[in-house]
């Protein structure tokens, strides 16, 4: 397939594209980000300059990035997908070699004006590359073992690099996100059944490896799993985060303790309250109603993406849009499961709400791609 396939004449051009942007999606993203500003202001104890303001600036930048990316024809993005993947891979390897240490993990690379997290970049370029791959691959070959092995390698290489950092959260996101794109592309059921079966086996093996010479996970990763399974075992040590997070959530009740009244976040019982655990703080202060509202906003974003993809005849555009949606879903699903005690603490931020530049910009870039696919869909 090439860009010739597109009915270029029916595609909006120039500034008219602005009218064809997915405005409800942009509005939803802004709404979610605003929740973030509100909560960052609150957890900073009413200090706007500490987290809320920098976050607003980044979101402004992110919006601009989204619009610019959205204006660029989607076939351009398809054509550079391989390049994007290659660059991300090189950066990941670079981080392995020159990266600085932050928060106990080797994740950052200093590119002068900002700290870049190549693993964030990889989340999106992997989806792009896989979408381009399946756009290129004839449908009948999709389930052929050789043509399945290639995307599997495309997914596993960066996943292993990320695990080595070590960043379990991103690894899970890459693995699951990539797998979801393969599933959407139509790879045969049997492969997924096999992989899931193998995964169960692997988990078993990992637990068996504990304490032996060929131990497959770091001790701290095992401990996280332990405390996830039974937080009460170590309420002041590693289980502290989960326990305090659940207390904060639970004490919120139906309507919450009131804006800026959450004692758990106010008094520093919550760990990482401005990043990974910001949802806890929100749910403490706004209660069940507040939490459900944010979840609804997220659901709407996913639904708008699915709707956009299903109304898009272009295979690349549809796969890309759905891939971004799945990645976004994985972000908040893992984060929320984690703070609610449904998953181990793996260090995944709440998308668009948690404080952090790299993740925010990459996400807005991804939604820029969704916008581009939406604007340039065949009509």
């Amino acid at each position: 397939m090439s860009y010739l396939e597109y009915r270029v004449k029916t595609t909006p051009t120039g500034f008219r594209k602005i009218l064809y942007l997915n405005w409800p999606l942009a509005l939803l993203l802004t709404a979610v980000a605003s929740v973030g500003f509100l909560q960052l202001y609150s957890v900073a104890g009413g200090n706007i300059g500490r987290w809320a303001e920098p976050q607003m600036e980044r979101f402004g930048l992110g919006l601009a990035v989204m619009f610019i990316v959205g204006m660029v024809p989607v076939w351009f993005w398809r054509n550079i997908s391989g390049l994007a993947y290659a660059i991300s891979l090189v950066l990941l390897i670079a981080v392995e070699m020159f990266g600085t240490i932050g928060m106990g993990a080797q994740r950052w690379i200093d590119i002068g004006f900002m700290q870049l997290q190549p693993s964030e970049l990889m989340k999106i370029s992997l989806v792009m590359f896989l979408a381009a791959y399946y756009d290129w691959l004839p449908q009948r070959k999709v389930s052929h073992p050789f043509w399945v092995l290639i995307p599997v390698l495309i997914i596993l290489v960066p996943t292993f690099l990320v695990i080595k950092q070590p960043d379990l959260g991103t690894a899970i996101l890459l693995l699951t996100g990539g797998g979801a794109v393969m599933f959407l592309a139509g790879v045969h059921w049997a492969y997924f059944a096999t992989v899931i079966g193998a995964a169960v086996g692997l988990v078993w093996t990992v637990f068996e490896s504990r304490g032996t010479s060929w131990q497959l996970l770091h001790d701290y990763q095992f401990r996280r799993i332990d405390t996830f399974l039974d937080p009460s075992k170590d309420p002041l040590g590693a289980g502290y985060h989960i326990t305090q997070s659940k207390i904060a959530l639970g004490s919120g009740g139906w309507t919450g303790r009131g804006y800026m009244q959450g004692t758990q976040s106010r008094l520093n019982f919550l760990p990482e309250k401005h990043t990974d655990f910001i949802f806890t703080s929100l749910a403490e202060e706004f209660g069940f109603i507040g939490g459900i509202s944010l979840l609804t906003l997220y659901a709407l974003i996913i639904l708008f993406c699915i709707h956009s993809a299903m109304s898009n005849q272009n295979r690349y555009a549809a796969l890309l849009t759905l891939g971004v949606a799945v990645t976004f879903f994985l972000f908040f699903a893992v984060n929320m499961s984690m703070v609610m005690g449904l998953a181990p603490v793996v260090g995944v931020p709440l998308p668009l709400v948690s404080y952090g530049g790299s993740a925010m910009l990459v996400l807005m870039l991804a939604f820029g791609l969704v916008q581009s696919a939406h604007v340039h869909r065949p009509r």
Partner: protein, 647 residues
């Protein structure tokens, strides 16, 4: 319009199908998340809300103010004085070393204190105050207060500390407080949490210890909001707690001071009881010590000096010390004989200078003997043979029963440390404790207050008080607690015939007022204050037959700790008894020569509530009494009587 290839169309359909499937899975998972949220936030909300409150709220105890102790006239004996200390907060200090150096230049601080403070600060949270110096003088604290701007993190603080303004006068009775030790905690079942407060002080000995519960009060509490590392963010509410109850003693500061100073130099004890209500007016043990040393934390050299002193300053001899009562016990034996009907006031015994029983010869203190004597004469001359005879006829059981009736060999219930029970021995007691049969010689020895008989100065004073009133005078040392008067110690009648009492009292009167009485030299000549007493000299060693043959070694030729104890009990005035006094001078040699003059001075002082007129003394004594009064006046505490409190 569309020219999409077929291939692409089918793939598009497949995407749609799988997209819907995946979308459904996603929405389903969001449903799970919502369900979990509902479980945590709605179903379990109450429990988690409680846990959050527990997290947030910390209850801090406010130590109660300890009750103060006053004498019978409301003069403070133990009070709470402001104590200044300097604390430092690490996070406010910036450079801790620099600030501490500056502080050390400004006021004298022990370098070890500084080191201790530094290590403590490294260990504790940065916002917690650490004490740098304690018991800082007012001058030094002022210097620090003026210079606070250049001493960041340093705060002068004021707290309350126990002080005993009368120094050593009440060291034994009132005792002292000190920081709670692990040993203290191990003795208390279910200790009050207030005891866990660092530097909290509890009574260690004496009244401070025995009346701890009343004096301590109950702790208040303040509920504070704390953050995850324990920093106090704000105070939510506070309950002030109850201060400890004030305690008013029956003791008289002035008399106690006089007695303490009168005993100075000796290893001695004296007790003065108000016969009308059992009030202990003075209860002294010499030598004494300064209880304030213990409150501040006594140095090991000071402590060793106290421990090594052979006069045992730390012991409260007045209630803990047990002595063979010697001839003072003849009061009990005489009463027992009279009450048993063995003798009456006119029965005479003959004293040849010794008493023979079971092939053993028991000597009278007067080798040539006293001749014919009745009970009054027996007491007046303190004739041993008279009481050997009487004692062996009365029997130990009746002597022992009378002793207990008179307060010897029974434990008096006083809130003082280690109040001694003493011993009024019986046959049964000897069998149980020594697994030996009671011998007649034991009764002979007990008849003159030797052998197994043991009494404390307090018990001797009680005996005198009971004899003088004929009532079961019960000693008490606490007059009122928290303003509430304690029951009077004036008890029921002893049930002893008035004629018996009168005979013994008369004997004691003769001891002090008959020219040939054993304590005539220490008499009072003022008609309305004349005392009736009984001397006692108790051996602390056995005199062997060989020694007796060679002539008994004179006391002044013996080493101090082998000399006899000197005792004296009295009550006065004879016609209308007001006070009863007992004096024991350890190894003082002679009751009449050493103990009796002290007892007379104390008796007069108690009766006159101050220095007695010199004409109460025999003319030949007046010169040295005047000198002594002047000397002791100089030691009297300067008390502003207008400023006194009231318990």
């Amino acid at each position: 319009m569309k020219q999409t290839p077929k291939d692409s169309q089918t793939s598009s359909r497949r995407i749609s199908r799988r997209a819907l499937l995946l979308g459904t899975v996603q929405l389903g998972f969001m449903g799970v998340l919502a369900g979990r949220m509902h479980y945590l936030q709605v179903d379990q909300a109450d429990q988690f809300r409680m846990l959050a409150e527990e997290n947030r709220i910390s209850v801090r105890l406010i130590p109660p103010t300890r009750g103060e102790i006053f004498d019978r006239n409301g003069i403070p004996v133990a009070k709470n004085e402001p104590a200044y200390r300097i604390t430092m907060v690490r996070e406010d200090a910036g450079d801790v070393d620099v600030v501490l150096d500056k502080l050390a230049e400004l006021i004298p601080i022990d370098p070890t204190d500084i080191e201790r403070a530094k290590t403590e600060m490294k260990r504790s949270a940065p916002f917690l105050p650490v004490t740098v110096a304690e018991r800082v003088s007012w001058e030094d604290i002022s210097k620090v207060a003026v210079n606070t701007p250049s001493l960041p993190g340093i705060t002068p603080e004021v707290g309350l500390s126990r002080a005993y303004p009368l120094d050593q006068d009440f060291a034994h009775t009132v005792g002292y407080v000190g920081p709670v030790s692990d040993y203290d905690l191990s003795k208390i079942e279910d200790p009050d949490p207030v005891l866990m407060i660092p530097r909290f002080q509890i009574g260690k000995i004496g009244l401070e210890n025995k009346m701890e519960d009343a004096l301590r009060g109950s702790a208040g509490s303040r509920r504070v909001e704390v953050n995850a590392v324990g920093r106090v963010m704000r105070e939510l509410d506070r309950q002030p707690g109850t201060p400890g109850a004030n305690v008013q003693l029956t003791l008289d500061v002035m008399l106690q001071n006089y007695v303490q100073n009168r005993l100075a130099g000796e290893s001695a004890a004296a007790v003065v009881i108000d016969t009308e209500n059992g009030d202990i007016l003075a209860c002294a043990s010499a030598p004494s010590f300064d209880p304030n040393l213990f409150v501040r934390g006594i140095s090991s050299s000071d402590y060793n000096a106290l421990m090594k002193n052979d006069h045992r300053p730390l012991a409260d001899k007045s209630v803990q010390g047990l002595y063979p009562p010697g001839s003072t016990f003849k009061i009990v034996v005489a009463l027992a004989g009279l009450e048993a009907g063995i003798i009456d006031a006119s029965t005479n015994f003959y004293c040849p200078g010794y008493y023979e029983v079971a092939n053993r010869r028991f000597h009278c203190w007067k080798y040539s003997g006293h001749g014919m004597l009745d009970v009054v004469g027996g007491l007046q001359h303190s004739c041993d043979v008279f009481f050997y005879e009487l004692g062996s006829r009365v029997g130990i059981e009746r002597i022992s029963a009378m002793a207990e009736r008179m307060g010897i060999g029974v434990k008096h219930d006083l809130p003082l440390s280690a109040v001694a029970t003493g011993l009024a021995p019986t046959k049964e007691w000897k069998r149980a404790n020594q697994n030996k049969d009671w011998l007649i010689g034991d009764t002979i020895n007990a008849s003159i207050g030797q052998g197994y008989v043991l009494a404390s100065p307090l018990q001797l004073a009680v005996m005198a008080a009971r004899l003088s009133t004929g009532r079961v005078v019960t000693p008490r040392v606490v007059r009122a607690v928290d303003g509430e008067d304690q029951p009077s110690g004036l008890g029921e009648s002893l049930g002893i015939a008035e004629s018996s009492l009168r005979a013994v009292r008369q004997g004691m009167f003769e001891v002090s007022n008959n020219r040939r009485g054993t304590a005539y030299g220490a008499r009072i000549i003022a008609e309305d204050m004349r005392l009736a007493g009984k001397t006692g000299t108790s051996q602390v060693r056995n005199i062997t037959a060989a020694e007796r043959a060679a002539g008994v070694t004179k006391n002044q030729d013996l080493p101090w700790n082998r000399r006899d104890h000197a005792l004296f009990v009295d009550f006065a005035p004879f016609e209308d008894p007001k006070v009863a006094v007992a004096v024991v001078v350890e190894h003082g040699s002679g009751g009449s020569s050493v103990a009796a003059p002290i007892a007379r001075d104390i008796t007069l002082q108690a009766l006159c509530k101050g220095d007695p007129p010199l004409d109460a003394y025999p003319a030949k004594d007046r010169d040295w009494v005047a000198q002594q009064q002047e000397r002791l006046r100089a030691l009297r505490p300067q008390i502003d009587l207008d400023a006194k409190g009231r318990a």
